[in-house]
């Protein structure tokens, strides 16, 4: 059943492999969360400015990506991404073969998915900030940049943090799907190890435990951040 000795560090067990796989999962999650947040900010901007075309594009993007399984999005970007990149490079006059590595593709795919969720969170947070505050800031003579940095920004972060925490958990769990691209993160390492050792239960329970550890720990971290950003309110 559960074989502890298979999880030893060094040549005898898979402990160090799993440690690296966990680090890879964390790296992919953080990278795609960051990229996703940038994409989400652009999406929110496109939805909030009074331009019909950008709003349509942004709404189309969020609706489609949220209505399609994550696995399909990852397959589409993994198998279709290379041809898109090659097509774009052809326009710029490069005709060679380009292959993106699994880390890049996985990060982009997960970022595409997580951006749709975070854009809703950020949009709601933006709309939750009272209009009167912007007017007050204008009356005090702050310029646009200052208003965003000093008045809007901190409050958007405060309103968005609980939702962003949820999106982070979803993103962290979605990274298990990019094991289908061959990137060695926890799930891929689990499949490799259980195929070699013929003991799937051991490694699957290890994987579940590692994911539980990551989600719990990062959840605690977000709680601390939330407390920090709502100091003046409690």
């Amino acid at each position: 059943m559960f074989k502890f000795e298979k999880l030893a560090f060094g040549d005898l067990g898979w402990g160090d492999e799993f440690l690296f796989a966990t680090l890879m999962t964390i790296t992919v999650s953080i990278l795609s969360m960051g990229l996703g947040l940038c994409l989400a900010i652009i999406t929110v901007w496109a939805k909030l400015i009074t331009n019909r075309i950008t709003r349509f594009i942004a709404n189309f993007y969020t609706t489609v990506v949220r209505g399609v399984p994550e696995l399909l999005v990852i397959y589409l970007i993994f198998f279709g991404g290379n041809s898109v990149v090659m097509g774009v490079s052809k326009i710029f006059g490069y005709n060679g073969y380009i292959e993106l590595n699994a880390l890049t593709i996985g990060t982009i795919a997960i970022a595409f998915i997580s951006a749709t969720y975070s854009s809703e969170v950020i949009r709601a947070a933006y709309l939750a900030v009272n209009k009167g505050q912007v007017e007050a800031a204008k009356a005090l003579g702050l310029n646009k940049f200052q208003i965003f940095l000093r008045v809007m920004g901190p409050q958007i972060i405060r309103h968005a943090l609980p939702g962003i925490g949820n999106v982070w958990q979803i993103t962290l769990k979605d990274t298990s799907l990019i094991s289908v691209t061959g990137l060695v993160e926890i799930m891929r390492q689990t499949r490799i190890a259980s195929n070699v050792e013929h003991s799937p239960l051991t490694f699957l329970i290890t994987a579940a435990f590692l994911y539980l550890l990551l989600t719990t720990f990062s959840g605690k971290l977000f709680k601390v951040l939330e407390l920090n950003y709502s100091k003046g309110y409690s």
């Binding site: 689990t190 499949r191 799937p200 239960l201």
Partner: protein, 237 residues
């Protein structure tokens, strides 16, 4: 007209579409079995979660914690590969069910949706104000009638939007069962891709079908909301 049909027959996307639709029933049957069972168990687990007995509520809470903290893929693999590797289960009658990827998928999806659903229903049950329960008690309702006539109707009505979200997540989650060799829409799309080397057409065909399924699900939830919130309807006059 005949030109159109000839054109459609030549287009790869259309042919993929026809092939992927053949997997629609496999996707639907996963949902048809796991969603109702998941709904009933979610209600029971939500009651356990708010129960006064510490043991019950703690057990349910830790179940929810574990399932919500791990990816669905891990759960599906644990059931499909993990349970199959235990000698005891391979010899018992359970093996007749668990050797099929279909029943493993149903089991994993049900376990997953119960964890999320019961947490949603808990919020609904706790949002029923004390006064409503007390007035029910003062009218002589017993515990069962109180649940059936007062707590559940109020709670379910309140959580319909968030449970609708969970239903959509479940439609999307069925695609993961394809990783256990079960041939539903995503599985067929991947097979087409391996055959034709045209990934974009294959996955877009499947994506359109999933979008359509989710659209139907949204309309269904909207209908339920309309039906069970008569006090919120915009009056016709």
């Amino acid at each position: 007209m005949q030109n159109l049909i000839a054109y459609l027959n030549q287009s790869l996307l259309f042919r993929n579409f026809i092939e992927v639709i053949a997997g629609l029933d496999n996707t639907l049957i996963l949902l048809v079995i796991s969603l109702p069972i998941g709904f009933i168990f979610s209600l029971i687990f939500a009651l356990g979660r708010v129960s006064n007995y510490n043991i019950i509520s703690k057990t349910v809470a830790s179940y929810i914690f574990v399932i919500r903290g791990t990816p669905l893929l891990v759960q599906i693999y644990l059931i499909y590969f993990g349970l199959g590797s235990i000698e005891f289960i391979r010899e018992s009658f359970l093996w007749y069910l668990l050797k099929e990827p279909f029943w493993c998928g149903v089991l994993a999806l049900t376990i997953n949706t119960v964890a999320y659903g019961s947490e949603i229903f808990r919020g609904g049950i706790q949002s029923v104000t004390k006064g409503q329960i007390e007035s029910g008690l003062s009218l002589g309702f017993n515990k069962f009638a109180l649940l059936r006539k007062i707590i559940f109707p109020i709670a379910l009505r309140k959580v319909l939007p968030s449970y609708g979200n969970e239903l959509i997540l479940m439609v999307k989650a069925t695609s993961l069962v394809s990783l256990t060799t079960y041939m539903e829409m995503t599985g067929i799309a991947r097979k087409i891709m391996a055959k034709t080397f045209a990934p974009v057409e294959a996955f877009i065909a499947a994506g359109i079908l999933y979008l359509f399924l989710n659209f139907l699900m949204v309309q269904f939830v909207k209908y339920l909301e309309w039906k069970y919130n008569p006090h919120l309807r915009v009056s016709q006059s």
